[in-house]
């Protein structure tokens, strides 16, 4: 029997996306008692998967999400054969999976990342933080070698100032958007100019409303921040299984 790569869990009545899976393998449903694994045959032996496989994983899940409810698996879950899928995934977690299929029906994940524009951000810092402005002025024009520690101190002040600014701005954005979502998952900012990186679980019927709110935030922050808005996606950030005992 073939090794199975698992994309996610769907109701056993789900429609199969028409595209091919990883390595061009045909997608299939492995069903047991109302729940099904969306899977495809994986090549035997050591599996090495790269960018293309990850893209396929994401696209298959999006297609499944467009057709119905899907609980996404993390990238890279492989099981030895069909019976293992039935026993260890669908059987062992049957009630959890069924409950989450119910819970996430008609809902989508929207991902938003807000990033400061560097120059306006720094201008604000110098304007608002007198310590920064003072130290900056005292260092300006002095030779680099003579101001090494001064510049480190200046940078540290700037960094703290950005931190405080980010906290304020993140709270203000969340206050606008969080009430429109059923659940929120905030990720740590991947670099210092990221104000906010968050996923929102939103009713499909409320997506338009959420879009408008994001647009409004974008307008309010015009010139200060840029936004990257991705979705609707399957609820990656909100599904979970209890740890295996």
């Amino acid at each position: 029997m073939a090794i199975k790569y698992i994309y996610g869990v769907v109701p056993s009545t789900a429609e199969l996306p028409t595209q091919p899976g990883i390595s061009g393998a045909q997608l299939e449903l492995i069903s047991a008692d109302g729940v099904a694994a969306l899977a495809s045959d994986a090549p035997d032996g050591d599996l090495v998967m790269g960018r293309h496989a990850m893209t396929t994983h994401a696209r298959v899940l999006e297609a499944a999400h467009a057709l119905g409810t899907v609980l996404p698996m993390r990238f890279g879950v492989v099981m030895d054969d069909e019976s293992q899928v039935v026993d260890r995934l669908l059987g062992a977690h049957h009630d959890d999976l069924l409950a989450q299929l119910e819970q996430f029906g008609g809902k989508a994940e929207l991902k938003l990342r807000a990033t400061y524009e560097e120059e306006p951000m720094l201008r604000e810092v110098v304007r608002e933080d007198q310590d920064v402005a003072r130290l900056r002025d005292s260092l300006r024009g002095a030779p680099e070698e003579a101001t090494y520690y001064g510049r480190i101190q200046l940078g540290e002040l700037v960094s703290r100032s950005i931190e405080r600014k980010r906290e304020r701005d993140a709270v203000s954005i969340m206050e606008t958007l969080a009430p429109l979502a059923l659940a929120v998952e905030q990720m740590p900012p991947p670099h210092e100019r990221v104000v906010l990186s968050a996923s929102f679980l939103v009713e499909q019927t409320k997506l338009d409303e959420f879009d408008v709110a994001v647009d409004r935030v974008g307008e309010t922050q015009a010139g200060r921040m840029r936004f990257k808005y991705t979705g609707p996606l399957p609820p990656h950030s909100f599904v979970q299984l209890p740890a295996e005992s």
Binding site: V48, V126, D211, R226
Partner: protein, 168 residues
């Protein structure tokens, strides 16, 4: 299969860059860190991940970061709050010979050390444009690799998922 429009909701503005399926980069953290997982079965070796995640790594405040901030703050010209005005002024100075008055405002501190000749100004200009373009790519990376095959319209997703979840 229908494609999700990139400018959903009728509105949309240039500050919010949006996409539905988007490039891998936008969902990479989700598919690698989120979702259902049964630990013993997570056993695919990954290649090329480093390349993709290197700029998604958290930058912890460090001396390098501080020096970079200090440099960036020092480079700011606060006398000119309209960022767009600066290149024009610079150009005027390089092309038509610098008016000493403008130079006094813009380049006062610099002049003391470097003498404020034209070479310096064009170097400065290069640096400025370099820094503003380097702040760009993190935010608008998606959607180019997008294909229509993976996405469905929102209304379709809604109606079919409703039907399915209640029938299961």
């Amino acid at each position: 299969m229908s494609t999700t429009s990139l400018s959903r909701g009728g509105g949309g503005n240039s500050y919010v860059s949006r996409s539905s399926s988007s490039g891998l980069y936008d969902v990479l953290d989700l598919i690698l860190d989120k979702g259902l997982v049964i630990d013993v079965f997570l056993r695919v070796s990954l290649v090329g991940i480093e390349l993709l995640t290197v700029d998604a790594r958290i930058v912890i405040a460090s001396v390098d970061t501080y020096l970079r901030f200090a440099e960036a703050v020092n480079r700011l010209d606060l006398g000119n709050s309209q960022g767009e005005g600066l290149p024009d002024l610079m150009q005027d100075m390089t092309e038509g010979g610098a008016s000493s008055k403008t130079k006094g405002v813009l380049e006062g501190a610099k002049e003391k050390i470097f003498g404020g000749d034209d070479d310096d100004e064009s170097n400065d200009k290069d640096e400025d444009s370099g820094s503003s373009s380097s702040s760009g790519p993190s935010s608008r990376r998606s959607s180019s690799s997008r294909s229509g095959s993976g996405s469905g319209s929102r209304s379709r997703a809604r109606s079919s998922s409703r039907g399915r979840s209640s029938s299961s």
